[in-house]
Symmetry: C2
Subunit: 111 residues, 2 copies
């Protein structure tokens, strides 16, 4: 139904899925990579960098912000965005946990 049966899954499963979904768009990957490349924080430069309308970029930034993947601070009329290291670290830990378990269990490989 385009609607997800959130109740049927654990909070952790829903949280991880939400975090992954927030990253699961090439424009948002591009924004993340752009923020990573720049030493200093960026605001409307993203609009110049990517071939998307300002409204669209703003929407993508909102989703990244909702997922806590980025932080934004107001600087005059501009807004300074940067990546939230803690959330990326947490995601990294989760993916690593799965991957490590997989590598260990691979000795008893099946398929």
């Amino acid at each position: 139904m385009g609607i997800t049966k959130t109740d049927s899954f654990t909070e952790q499963q829903n949280e991880l899925a939400t975090l992954l979904k927030a990253m699961a768009h090439p424009a948002r990957i591009a924004i993340i990579e752009f923020l990573l490349k720049k030493d200093k924080c960026i605001c409307g430069d993203i609009v110049d960098e990517l071939p998307l309308a300002q409204a669209t970029i703003s929407q993508h930034l909102k989703e990244l912000k909702n997922a806590n993947l980025i932080k934004g601070t107001i600087e005059g009329t501009a807004i300074c965005y940067c990546l939230n290291q803690e959330v990326f670290s947490a995601l990294n830990d989760k993916i690593q946990l799965i991957t490590n378990q997989l590598i260990i269990k691979n000795s008893t490989k099946c398929c």
Copy 2:
């Protein structure tokens, strides 16, 4: 438009986004965790485990298979699924790359 401007982004950005999207659903996280938990490969047990209809599980498995996150081998009438360690490792590397860069650059933190 619900359609993504794929041409506007690099192949790597699109690939990573596609991989993340394949994981970005609690049911698919649950399937991954279930396959991880079991020593031996699982087939229709997933249908018994999760509160979703058989058709829905089959669809989720298809998406995971398309993304190469799982492999399936036919065993009589059943199909034996297991996680694809290589793809998880590759994803882990990408996330780790971003996270490590972030940790290094955090000294010049901004926001």
